[in-house]
Symmetry: C2
Subunit: 451 residues, 2 copies
């Protein structure tokens, strides 16, 4: 063998947790492999702005290879592992290929949960990937397009009704943004419809929005949304979702666009560990974020269920960053040491501690809520804090400039720069219009224009 | 009927020709309907920069409704007509719906032609739409990804070989950009491959590149490309395209990525007119751009074949803009007059005259060729002219700023900001790697890293 083999650190997932773990190992005597099915790190907190046409995908994405280009001990593998074999110490891919590890960091994230009704996903997409975001963008823009040519008032109202399920940060941000698009951005663009009549209804099963915040901030967010025209429906349980609308209890709400921002379901790779999971699939990890009984296997970010300071650590970006950095530094400190000692001789570990920097959620232009160390802000000042924090944490300087520019532009002109209907939209608009001779109506309208 | 019906002007296509025709009718006493299958106007001359990860789709696209929002006599219809019925004076859609016209402007553009081998399209995509551009971007980026994990030198070389068919502006621009990506942008990003060994081969059937230019500029462009490392193969006729590479005459060139930038095929809606067409499907129009025998039906832009000043008007953006404006103004001048007079009494029309502003093609950073009124430029100055012209003609002020910013950034850092592999890339990389245990090799490599 000649030269001694370096310890192999395998990190699954290039989100906040995985990327920060990799970066904490920069220069360490290890072979680090970062595996992700995508070639970029995604700044998920701003994904809703891609879905609502404010930003382009590239503005919030950074190629992982580029971010890690100078970290010579780290290679990037574009692939999606499906299982971990703790006995053989490798991760497996669909084609039977494996990658062996000495240290493993699982950071494959989570997605939304449809509470056992996965069939709703096609009708009511969630917002976790770039493709989700451009799909939702296309749906929002097509909703106005189809409303413009609807034959009946009823169908037009349904086309102009957006139902959003889930009153967390994503749901609140989507609701506010869609209302702004309808009331400001596209208001001059159509000839047959008044986009100001758009209904945006935000449903949540809890008795308040933004449960991560204090009741006071929740109430402020609700009032702000209602002032903008959003209907907020609390203690509302979705019982069915169809192409025509949404059932809340026994009530039917006609809505052509249903967006999903509720529930959490961790990446299924956690299940292959064979250790206790939360109902949502998160791995119940030890205080040092290890899998029980596995000193060199960690689960971090949205995949991990862990308590710090008596409270469950929330599935937010700052927590993922802190977990990733904690694990990266821990591995770095123990590299080489671990294998050469007897189990009783292992270094003791300081448990992971979550440092809660506060909570932020934006609602619209100059509208946000913020809670930082017991202080509660709302309105313009909270929005400013939100903006500065999000710009600061964007991964590349270039993206910071571009996003700032786009925000400044949006501020002055209320315009949305990325209003592209992409994908096979012509087919979909046909589908949307299936039962209406919509363009026929358009022609007959020319006789007596409603201009 | 009460109020007299306004004349209906129907414009098919929201590209340069169609949009300029619509804008020339701003405020005219007419009901203008602009039909496009996409909801945005695309600045096609910069599409190759989306395909090569330099710009985001939204940077070169403007929503048609937004562009025309203040033109109250114009409505936008998101649909794709399939035929024109000259007798019934309407355009038809797939579902049987029709839109009637008094004046018709066909501006539905053209795409590449595979010279009777449409089966090559799947392997060798052309570059005409946003989806084409993001597909090509994904393929270029995946080529490097798969090369990184190829098991054999031969397969690695094929993965790092890009064949581009067609030496017009698009082919030259793609060749130069891909070479820059390989030699500058991603050069630090990979661990197993040296991306500087990338081969870019540009094939053209003619005896020189850029036939719209003088032989002198063609030669300069060729020398510039060759200096960058691009192989230019002239008088090269493609006889077959397969997943493994491209056949030029009897010679086989192994190349996993083949891009198509050759040939012209006009939108097939022209065929429904039942008038003489060019072989490429363009409608042979009268000097006033009308369909023979149809005084109120025009064909403009890339769909039209017309001679001006003894030369065929080229399929370039300035020609499309001029045709669109010419027809828009012509209709505007004759609105109302046309139907009320006898055929012998019709106003005479000044024929369309193409004003050749010159030709521009960019090759790489500070590398371009330009010919303006007999003056020939190349290198940095030509590149400056190219840049200023393209920024100037971008449709919105916002896009101008964003594109300028991205160019400035690219200038200093040679970085490409939109390096996103989107769509179902994980599946495709599996397909690409089908016969190689690539990640397995990666693992075995860890034993003796080639870092």
């Amino acid at each position: 063998m000649g030269k001694e083999r370096l310890p192999r650190v395998v990190i699954v997932g290039g989100g906040f947790a995985g990327l920060n773990a990799a970066q904490a190992l920069n220069g360490a005597p290890a072979d680090v492999t970062l595996i992700d099915r995508r070639n970029f790190h995604l700044f998920q907190p701003l994904l809703y702005q891609v879905a609502t046409a404010g930003l382009s995908p590239a503005d919030i994405a950074s190629p992982l290879r580029h971010v890690l280009r100078k970290q010579k001990n780290c290679r990037v593998v574009l692939a999606e592992p499906i299982a971990v074999d703790l006995g053989k110490r490798h991760v497996k891919f669909e084609d039977g290929v494996v990658i062996e590890y000495d240290w493993l960091v699982l950071a494959a994230g989570a997605t939304h949960s449809y509470f056992g009704h996965d069939e709703w996903e096609k009708i009511a997409p969630g917002l976790k990937t770039i493709e989700d975001a451009t799909e939702i963008r296309t749906r929002i823009l097509l909703a106005f397009e189809s409303a413009e040519y609807e034959g009946s008032d009823e169908a037009r109202r349904a086309a102009l009704t957006f139902a959003i399920v889930g009153g967390g940060a994503t749901g609140v941000e989507l609701a506010g943004s869609i209302m702004e698009i309808a009331a400001k951005t596209v208001v001059q663009d159509f000839r047959n419809i008044d986009t100001k009549t758009t209904r945006v209804i935000l449903f949540d099963g809890n008795d308040r929005l933004l449960t991560a915040f204090s009741p006071e901030s929740s109430e402020r967010a609700k009032r702000t949304l209602e002032k903008m025209g959003v209907e907020v429906r609390l203690k509302a349980f979705v019982t069915n979702v169809t192409r025509d609308g949404i059932y809340v209890g026994n009530e039917f709400v006609a809505a052509r666009s249903v967006l999903w921002a509720a529930g959490v379901r961790a990446n299924p790779i956690g299940a292959s560990l064979g250790v206790p999971l939360e109902k949502s699939g998160q791995v119940k990890v030890e205080p040092d974020l290890t899998v029980p009984g596995q000193r060199q296997v960690f689960v971090v970010g949205d995949m991990a269920s862990v308590v710090s300071g008596g409270k469950r650590v929330p599935g937010v970006a700052p927590a993922a960053i802190q977990m990733g950095t904690y694990v990266g530094k821990l591995i770095r400190a123990e590299l080489g040491a671990a294998t050469s000692r007897s189990p009783t001789d292992l270094p003791s570990r300081r448990p992971f501690e979550y440092w809660d920097k506060g909570s932020l959620a934006t609602i619209g232009k100059a509208k946000a809520v913020a809670e930082i160390k017991g202080f509660k802000f709302s309105g313009y000042f909270a929005w400013l804090i939100w903006s500065v924090v999000h710009i600061t944490f964007l991964i590349s300087f270039r993206n910071r400039l571009i996003v700032m520019f786009n925000w400044a532009w949006g501020w002055f002109f209320f315009s949305k720069s990325a209003r592209l209907i992409t994908g096979d939209s012509s087919m979909r608009i046909d589908e949307v219009k299936a039962n209406e001779v919509v363009i026929g109506r358009e022609v007959s309208n020319l006789e007596s224009p409603r201009l």
